[in-house]
């Protein structure tokens, strides 16, 4: 056995041991080595800032943002309308507990290649030392961006709502149709499992249903997820579905906000 083979087997054993101890939980599988994140996090932030600083927002981008803001206002108006109706009917609306927004600068976008691939996740430089917990909602303005999937003391892994395999209960702002939103992994989402008797409309906003857990993680009601762009309704099917487009382009955001409950 030559020297190279011996060295290789020593290092491969180290890797397997590392995998083993991270697998059985001696080193938390999701958090890695915190000191590495602590060292790299400020540098990653600087690199991302340079990148964002050099890309100027075009007029089209500004219009898109304005349109997004107006759509969100419309969604809020529909929600307020619903609330007023409920009050008139002498039902008391439940107010979610006050929340605080924790700024989380984006330092990484795994799987993102401009113009070719859309990210499924974000890495932010805010971690458990700042009060971030797994399962907390991540927003930008009033729009739900994703949720905290993994966390270590200095950074957190945010799963985007558009990511493949992501699904949770939602409702439409205007018509109140309930269903399940499913991320497709390519920046698109599908609103599925909507019964045929519910009414879906193109242009209607999709918002979160109340989904806050006992430890104050999860999605509070009324956060905007996206806008319905097309509807697939067939009388022969059990459910109808709709394509939903997100309103915010996360690849252009310098930071997002983690929704922490007081």
């Amino acid at each position: 056995m030559n020297r190279r083979t011996v060295v290789f087997f020593i290092f491969i054993t180290c890797c397997v041991l590392l995998l083993g101890i991270s697998g059985i939980g001696i080193i938390t599988r999701s958090s890695g080595i915190p000191i590495v994140s602590a060292i790299f996090s400020p540098l990653q932030k600087a690199v991302v800032n340079i990148f964002h600083g050099t890309s100027s927002a075009s007029q089209l981008e500004k219009l898109k943002q304005e349109n997004s803001a107006l759509s969100q206002q419309l969604a809020r108006m529909h929600l307020i309308e619903g609330d007023n109706k409920a009050l008139r009917d002498q039902f008391q609306t439940t107010t979610p507990s006050p929340s605080t927004l924790l700024p989380a600068p984006i330092i990484g976008m795994p799987g993102f290649l401009p113009g070719a691939a859309i990210p499924n996740a974000l890495i932010v430089s805010t971690g458990s030392k700042n009060g971030v917990l797994v399962g907390q909602a991540v927003v930008y303005k009033d729009e739900l961006v994703g949720f905290v999937e993994k966390v270590n003391p200095y950074t957190a892994h945010i799963r985007l709502v558009t990511g493949s395999g992501v699904s949770f209960a939602v409702k439409t702002a205007k018509t109140g149709a309930v269903g399940i939103i499913k991320g497709q992994g390519d920046g698109q989402m599908v609103l599925d499992n909507v019964v045929l008797s519910d009414n879906l409309e193109v242009g209607d906003m999709v918002v979160t249903s109340p989904d806050v857990a006992a430890n104050n993680t999860g999605f509070p009601p009324g956060l905007t997820i996206g806008k319905i762009t097309s509807i697939d309704k067939k009388a022969s099917n059990l459910f109808q579905s709709a394509n939903v487009a997100v309103l915010v382009d996360v690849t252009r955001l310098p930071m997002v906000f983690v929704l922490t409950q007081k």
């Binding site: 958090s31 890695g32 590495v36 799987g111």
Partner: protein, 139 residues
């Protein structure tokens, strides 16, 4: 000494870019270039170190990237007796194979544009490494 500092700087820069704005396997491409130019066992140590750092920054199970790097480098070394490693053709072929496997194991999907870019960058890094280091045995 200056050579080592330049290499460390390049690895550090590739780590920073790979974990932030550029989702290409830059660390793997640098490792490959250093492997084919120097043909030394030191790359195994660099591979395991880079693997651990990448795992920590990209929230992967610790040791998985290192394991992939080591297996890939061993695969490259297997052809040492059969082919001349310090050629652009070999570097391009291994960049293609390495980035394809990397995206297959760690990427969300295999994208040919990313792989093509990786091959081009891999060739570039190989040429630069070879230019900067005319005497490969002095590492």
């Amino acid at each position: 000494m200056i050579r080592a500092i330049i290499l460390v700087g390049c690895f550090f820069l590739s780590l920073l870019l790979e974990t932030t704005i550029l989702q290409l396997p830059l660390s793997l491409l640098f490792l490959l270039a250093v492997t084919v130019v120097y043909q030394t066992e030191w790359v195994f140590l660099i591979a395991i170190f880079l693997g651990v750092v990448l795992d920590s920054l990209l929230f992967r199970p610790l040791g998985s990237t290192g394991l992939f790097f080591l297996c890939f480098l061993l695969f490259v070394f297997l052809y040492e007796q059969k082919f001349e490693l310090r050629t652009i053709q070999f570097s391009a072929l291994m960049s293609f194979l390495g980035s394809f496997l990397y995206f297959l194991f760690f990427g969300h999907s295999v994208l040919w544009l990313q792989i093509t870019l990786s091959v081009i960058i891999g060739i570039g890094i190989f040429i630069l490494t070879k230019l900067r280091i005319p005497r490969a045995d002095s590492f």
